[in-house]
Symmetry: D3
Subunit: 117 residues, 6 copies
């Protein structure tokens, strides 16, 4: 069940390394910003992860949703909280978000199944 | 040929059941609205299905397109009508709709092939 | 009340003439296609106008919505039919469509007020 | 300075009343859901307002941003928190979010100026 | 005629200064990146400005289009080149780009009129 | 390694032939325009391909990105130029473009690997 998590992470890591090795400064700085933006500030890390999750969901970026689901999971957010955030995304973004909601739910189950091992 | 139809429906149904069992009220109500909105009203069901199809196509949601293609097919709309609706979607949404048009066409063929069995 | 209709049409016509006088072939052909795509075919003109309206609404293009509202009005579609189409757009496209719904409603009222004169 | 707040609220309220009086059930239920989704649940109201704000910002809906800015302001969120949420929206949604950021900042200043009166 | 250029630049500059004075690091770095990304590299400045223009047009961000039109104008690109780039944007992004094309054309005329003074 | 290129081209060609054989005039003309728009004009073919690439990337259409990557490759654009164009797309379109950047990079590598054979 956790395979979709591993598969996602492996491809993501492999290609990110290639992109960063390529030495395009704009891309490197955007990657760098992406790490910094979710660090604790006036808002705590959990809230920021939920913001990243909802932004990714309404823009319908499955890989971005998966990334923020995994970080949310590691930060200790539970399924009810995550689904509540995603329900707001579905309302704001409309029924076109539903197919992404199905895949997000499947990924969350894989995250939970993986940590049970 | 009809396998892509079955595969789509099975995954969709399985995950929808999980989402609805989860008891998030906002999500349940959106699912409920999604059923009601396409019922006959001032506009008939066929017209509403084409509206849902075109909205899905310009927003480039393959799963939503598949869903409305299947319902359109069951409602008796023919390929010429469906393609005419999708041509408007391609004009309004631009050439980025074309890859979705290819997949829509493939799905429609699978629907027709499936009913020949 | 009908001023927002006139203002929209005047600006639209003035700029379209400039764009077409400019002799860019791609743009001219897209304008030409835009006229042809909504002509009667397997689907009637009313249905096509509603398809154009819903595509415009979910893509949140106010000017496109106005254009299709005006053509829908001239084709004899009534407010209940138009609002039913727009309700599907709002469901598919989410609550971000609502501000466009408010402006669409205002424009429709102006169309009706204008024809009362 | 607070005029842009009043102007926004007046138009919004006037048109919402018309839309709801019109008795389209799908639209009425979406409006109803929109109220319920931001009520306290597993996540508190402040977090939900920030989720609505970020979703609105990446989807570049100025009116939706204004609405959530006003509610965030009333809920006691401060400018640093709101700007931190909007900075995540700008990173996720790209530089096309910046014009909306400018208008959001102006609206927030109007909210603060209005409450000084 | 050049007033829409001045008005755009004044508001843009005033709000950018406020945003940058506000000291949100993520926003400041995105602004900084936005300057660096369009500098000469493997691609020349003119090409990069056209890329920024087309990206802005298909994402339908009027203010971003205006900004890149002005920079394109200053870099010596002519109307035929700019319109050719915008015709690709209209084809890729669909007829919903047309209202933005009208406003882009008007802004370009204002840029040309302004430099005649 | 070049298999993802072949797989993409085969499916694309097969379905395009079906779509064109279907005789929907609007779709046929859009396909026709799509060929003409990228021909040399005031802008050269390389620049136009990069415009098509960036438009496709910010609209997050993987198949469109692949198509323009292949044409860019055939036109003799190199990886640094293509990545510079894509870095602008990532800045303008935000971090949601990154998953598409990963897939674009993989496809470009396959194009280069394929021509080494």
């Amino acid at each position: 069940m956790a395979d979709i998590v591993e598969e996602f992470n492996e491809y993501r890591q492999k290609m990110n390394e290639k992109l960063l090795a390529d030495n395009n400064k704009v891309i490197k700085r955007i990657f760098n910003l992406d790490t910094n933006a979710y660090m604790e500030g006036a808002l705590d890390v959990k809230t920021k992860e939920l913001l990243g999750l909802v932004a990714s969901a309404v823009l319908r970026c499955d890989d971005c949703v998966k990334y923020h689901l995994e970080t949310s999971y590691k930060e200790g957010l539970n399924k009810v909280e995550v689904m509540e955030a995603l329900s707001i995304a579905t309302l704001v973004g409309g029924t076109i978000v539903i197919p992404h909601l199905r895949r997000a739910y499947e990924f969350w189950e894989a995250l939970e199944a993986g940590s049970d091992k």
